[in-house]
């Protein structure tokens, strides 16, 4: 009996041992953290489409790092595209091709970041290629089907393929890097012979013909005028252009107008059209001169600006002739002739309460009060007026205040003022405004307000910054204008800016500012001492320093008087 038991126990143990041993062998431990393939692995899986590109990766020594940890974007050309490319560079096979040419080509197809199609714009990609040139994206419609186009050379066939170390966009052609500089490209194009000659004689040709090894300084954007654009504006040849502008006889001088003309067409930075329209002004090579950019329907217009209510016609950028990438930048075609305008500094009497958003509300503009409330810090109800969020949410209200009878606005320009609570600890911490364009020059800055104290002890001392530069004097929204003659007051930085003589409407000269460029300027009022709601801002005057600072004064109907 006991023997039987021992046998059966042994038998059981053996069977159990066998079973467990088997099971042991069958366990397959997964040693990888993911089954996803890397970029190279994905290409390997589809030899029909990518065998040639894969060969190139191998030959150029790119394959190992594309198969390692990282975050890359790879534009992978299919075999047919690679074949076309090999024919173009005169190589019979991948092995026969010049190694350095292949290396450059591969690096143009790789980005060291993941870039999905949703960040493709009309301009360049946000990340530079490993080759050191940016790729430009667009969308092309071929035979009714639209697809992304990269560098105007290749169409995207399949996009946003995720792999373990980045993403792949499949393209139908191999892209080749630009080989010429801006200067060389323009020179090779007969339609720009006049502009190129102007570049040569002013010395800019040489500056546009170098590729700076330092990426930060390399990129230049040129807005070139074609011969036709110049001819349409009366410059049939270079001689007539030179005759019009070159007054010093030496176009190389920075003071020569021909030199300025060329400099005004060059801006630093790599700006494709999609990049140009995201900013309203661009600084040019001509010191402190900017071009303005406006998008009207689909046209990009240069220098279409409004000065003192008059719209000056701008020049269109011709889209098909633009976005030409070169080794050191990009150039575009301006469809007309434009030249920097020299404007005399002109006073700006800015009624701050005539902003666009209130004008859109005819039931309120010059009719009734209206509150612009920011419910959250992210809100921006008024484009050109903004303020630092006050921790007490209810104080984040800019009140457009209008009344012909109220003593707050009865003598104000246009009977309206903007009121904003200010001051620590809980009210808005600064008040910033964008002025209408002010022509460059030296100006005195006057803050015109209706003094008011929320309570008898209120105080609201503020400092003013213009374009980030601190003004010499402070101002105080609770302070009345002192007594004295105009001359006496001006001497101590005060004036009466309205027709009525009441001393609660005061204008305080906070300082002198020199504007370097003609553009919308930024003015910021920051409370220093005290806090209250009733900060009534009526106007801000920018008056050239050599002009009369006292006159004109303003009537409640907005008209000016000169006495």
């Amino acid at each position: 009996m006991s023997r039987k038991i021992i046998v059966s126990v042994l038998a059981f143990a053996m069977v159990a041992g066998l079973v467990t041993m088997n099971a042991c062998r069958k366990i397959e431990l997964v040693e990888t953290t993911t089954a996803d393939v890397n970029i190279v692995g994905w290409l390997d899986k589809q030899p029909d489409s990518f065998s040639l590109f894969r060969q190139i990766l191998e030959r150029t020594g790119t394959a190992p790092f594309l198969n390692a940890y990282g975050a890359y974007t790879c534009f992978a050309p299919v075999n047919s595209g690679v074949k076309t490319y090999l024919t173009k560079i005169g190589a019979a096979s991948v092995d026969a091709a010049d190694l350095n040419t292949l290396k450059d080509m591969v690096r143009l197809h790789l980005l060291e970041d993941t870039v999905y199609t949703n960040s493709f714009t009309d301009g360049k990609l946000p990340v530079i290629t490993m080759f050191g040139q940016f790729l430009v994206t667009s969308v092309a419609n071929v035979g009714g089907a639209s697809s992304y186009q990269i560098n105007r050379q290749a169409l995207v066939r399949n996009s946003n393929i995720r792999t373990g170390n980045g993403i792949i966009h499949v393209i139908d052609q191999v892209m080749t890097p630009a080989v010429k500089t801006i200067a060389q490209q323009l020179e090779a194009n007969a339609n720009y012979s006049v502009f190129v000659q102007a570049m040569k004689e002013t010395g800019y040709f040489d500056k546009l013909n170098v590729v700076d090894p330092n990426l930060a300084n390399r990129w230049i954007t040129v807005l070139a005028e074609s011969n036709k654009a110049l001819a349409d504006n009366g410059f049939a040849n270079y001689a007539s252009l030179k005759a019009k502008y070159s007054k010093t006889g030496n176009p190389r001088l920075a003071t020569d107008s021909l030199n300025m003309y060329v400099a005004y067409h060059i801006t630093s930075g790599l700006k494709f059209l999609g990049d140009i329209i995201t900013q309203t002004t661009h600084e040019t090579m001509l010191p402190q001169e900017v071009i303005s950019i406006r998008l009207v329907e689909q046209d990009i217009l240069i220098n279409e600006d409004e000065f003192n209510g008059v719209i000056e016609k701008g020049v269109r950028i011709n889209r098909p002739g633009s976005d030409n990438a070169a080794t050191n930048g990009v150039w575009h075609e301006a469809a007309g002739h434009y030249m920097v305008k020299f404007r005399k500094p002109t006073a700006l009497f800015w009624d701050v309460s005539a902003f666009e958003e209130i004008k859109k509300l005819p039931a309120f503009y010059k009719k009734a009060n209206y509150n612009f409330t920011r419910a959250t810090e992210a809100d921006k109800p008024i484009k050109d007026h903004y303020w630092g969020w006050g921790s007490l949410a209810g104080t984040n209200v800019l009140s457009y205040t209008y009344s012909t009878s109220s003593s707050i606005t009865n003598f104000a320009c246009n009977n309206d003022i903007n009121m904003l609570p200010l001051g620590l600890p809980s009210r808005p911490v600064w008040w910033e405004m964008k002025t209408p364009p002010v022509i460059k020059g030296k100006y005195k800055v006057w803050i015109c307000y209706r003094a008011q104290k929320q309570s008898s002890s209120s105080n609201q001392l503020c400092q003013v910054e213009v374009n980030g530069q601190l003004m010499q004097r402070t101002m105080n929204f609770t302070e009345n204008r002192p007594a004295g003659t105009d001359a006496e007051l001006e001497a101590i930085g005060w004036k009466r800016y309205i027709e009525n003589t009441t001393n609660v409407f005061a204008a305080r000269q906070v300082g002198v500012i020199e504007f370097k460029t003609t553009q919308q300027q930024t003015i910021r009022i920051t409370p220093l001492v005290g806090t209250q709601n009733n900060n009534n801002l009526d106007m801000i005057h920018f008056i050239p320093i050599d002009e009369n600072q006292i006159l004109p004064r303003f009537r409640p109907d907005g008209s000016m008087i000169y006495f």
Binding site: N118, D122, N141, A145, E297, T376, A378, P381
Partner: protein, 515 residues
């Protein structure tokens, strides 16, 4: 003793076997299964009401996360407005919402999830399949009553497919009920034309079965009546370029005499007298004489729009386009008493760019979150007039079309500056005028994109520039050219099939634009 033992054993076996029975019971103890349902007419009625309430289902998952499933009403808005020019994204908009406005939709975009629509379609399919069985089970259930319920299910299903077909183009056409997992089979897409044919066939059948009234206003606006069927048919015919049929359907609604325009403004010599309760009657309260079919949100079932539009919360998703007032409604700078009643404080609050229609309790007061039950209006009388106008213009009756447009404009006191006074014989000019008028009349009512697409695609995309110009307006400037070039591919006008659907239904083929 032995006897006692036998009795005891007998009892134990008995007890054991009966408990065994219960233990082996496969039917759920806490619910009703389909073998027990579909017995009484009350159950049929409950199912019909269930179809309507399924359209008011809430969203699930966190907004701005991958697992988000939008509610149906949200999709009505997003599909109809987001790609058009009346709305703009706000500070808290998700990448998926922004992608719609930049023509950058990907198959992973949560707004391409059609699940809420097919869920409601399945409710309809189930009713259509099972309700006739009840006739034999419940003698008090009449054929007439069944017909009415069937007409409601057919019409709601047609409405769902009409949204799907306009949004996705080709979609799977599922006409039988999915009652259990056994019924789940992958099915292929049907073409747009096939789906539209089915919609028309369903609606024609529904028209013959539907009632003209359910007996009270709330039910007449909130449930399908014959006029709902006519309105939807008119819209479908307009989409499929069948203009005579469209006019005929519109006339059925117009000639019923049951609907009218709510008075908005009346010109009395030099002054204009506005109806102060116009906004409240038509939108804030709903179920007005003008409404034909509205989703009946109530205090018990709030709509999703508060968090989407209200300016009082930090995370609102959609705001009105910045230039909406000037471009669409225009403003009389000289006389503030002369305004389009549909503009400021009806469609939009211009000062805060708020989409006002769904968050305004009145022209001046915002709703609070517990009052967020503005109805979603599918069709109202003004729509019938303008659909008829569009159909008349296409059939060569420009003057007839203009008369209807002016009728709609007059009630709202549309400003002279928005009247291009087109010649009745200039078909394109009248088309543009009607399209612009629809933008004003149905601002934010989920119609704008479909209106533009319908006009653009007519006669083999003869008027594609309408759509391209709109995109030039609404897309950010640095993507404008790309977006336009994309829109030249007509497949881009339809949304991609959601990635999850592609993965689970292997027979689905992605729209070729999104490959």
């Amino acid at each position: 003793m032995k006897k006692a033992f036998i009795y005891l054993m007998g009892t134990v076996i008995l007890a054991g076997s009966s408990s065994c029975n219960k233990y082996l019971e496969l039917q759920p103890q806490d619910g009703i299964i389909k073998e027990e349902f579909w017995k009484t007419k009350e159950q049929v009625q409950a199912s019909v009401i269930g179809i309507y309430s399924s359209m008011m289902e809430y969203s699930s998952g966190g907004y701005n996360s991958q697992g988000y499933i939008p509610s149906m009403a949200e999709l009505f808005f997003v599909w109809g407005e987001s790609r058009a020019d009346n709305v703009a994204t706000a500070t808290a908009s998700s990448f998926d919402d922004i992608a719609l406005t930049t023509m950058n939709v990907q198959p992973t975009n949560v707004n391409a999830n059609w699940r809420p629509f097919y869920r409601t379609i399945n409710f309809c399919n189930t009713l259509l399949e099972k309700a006739p069985e009840v006739l034999t089970n419940d003698n008090t259930f009449t054929q007439r009553q069944l017909d009415i319920y069937m007409s409601e299910a057919l019409t709601v299903r047609a409405l769902m497919y009409f949204y799907l077909v306009r949004t996705f183009g080709d979609v799977p056409l599922k006409l039988d009920a999915t009652l259990s997992d056994e019924n789940i089979t992958p099915i292929e897409k049907s073409t747009q034309a096939q789906v539209l044919d089915q919609i028309i066939a369903d609606l024609k059948k529904a028209e013959s079965l539907a009632v003209t009234s359910h007996g009270n206003a709330e039910q007449d606006k909130g449930r399908i009546t014959r006029y709902t069927v006519n309105s939807l048919l008119a819209d479908v015919y307009l989409w499929t370029d069948k203009y005579t049929e469209c006019v005929a359907e519109c006339d059925k609604v117009i000639n019923s005499g049951r609907f009218g325009l709510i008075r908005g403004a009346t010109v009395n010599g030099p002054s204009i007298e506005y109806n102060d309760s116009w906004f409240n009657t038509l939108y804030a309260d709903g179920n007005s004489n003008e409404g034909i079919f509205e989703l009946q949100y109530s205090q018990q079932r709030l709509n999703p729009f508060f968090t989407i539009f209200s300016p009082t919360i930090p995370a609102r998703r959609w705001v009105a386009a910045a230039d909406l007032m000037e471009r669409v409604f225009s403003v009389d700078m000289t006389n503030p008493q002369n305004y389009d009643i549909r503009g400021d404080r009806a469609s939009v609050s211009a000062a805060t760019s708020t989409v006002w229609k769904y968050v305004g309790a009145s022209p001046s007061v915002l709703r609070t979150i517990d009052q967020s039950f503005a109805h979603w209006i599918f069709y109202r009388y003004a729509d019938i007039l303008l659909m008829k106008a569009e159909a008349l213009n296409e059939s060569g009756n420009g003057q007839g079309a203009l008369n209807l447009v002016y009728q709609v404009r007059q009630r709202a006191n549309a400003l002279v500056s928005t009247d291009p006074t087109p010649s009745p014989s200039d078909k394109f000019a009248v088309q543009d005028f009607i399209l612009d008028e629809r933008a004003r009349e149905f601002c934010f009512e989920g119609k704008r994109w479909f209106d533009v697409l319908r006009n653009a695609k007519r006669n083999k995309y003869a008027r594609l520039p309408i759509l391209l110009n709109m995109i030039a307006q609404s897309v950010p400037s640095n993507m404008q050219q790309s977006a336009q070039a994309k829109a030249k591919d007509v497949n881009s006008h339809y949304m991609p099939i959601y990635l999850y659907e592609l993965q689970t239904n292997k027979k689905l083929v992605q729209n070729s634009f999104y490959k």
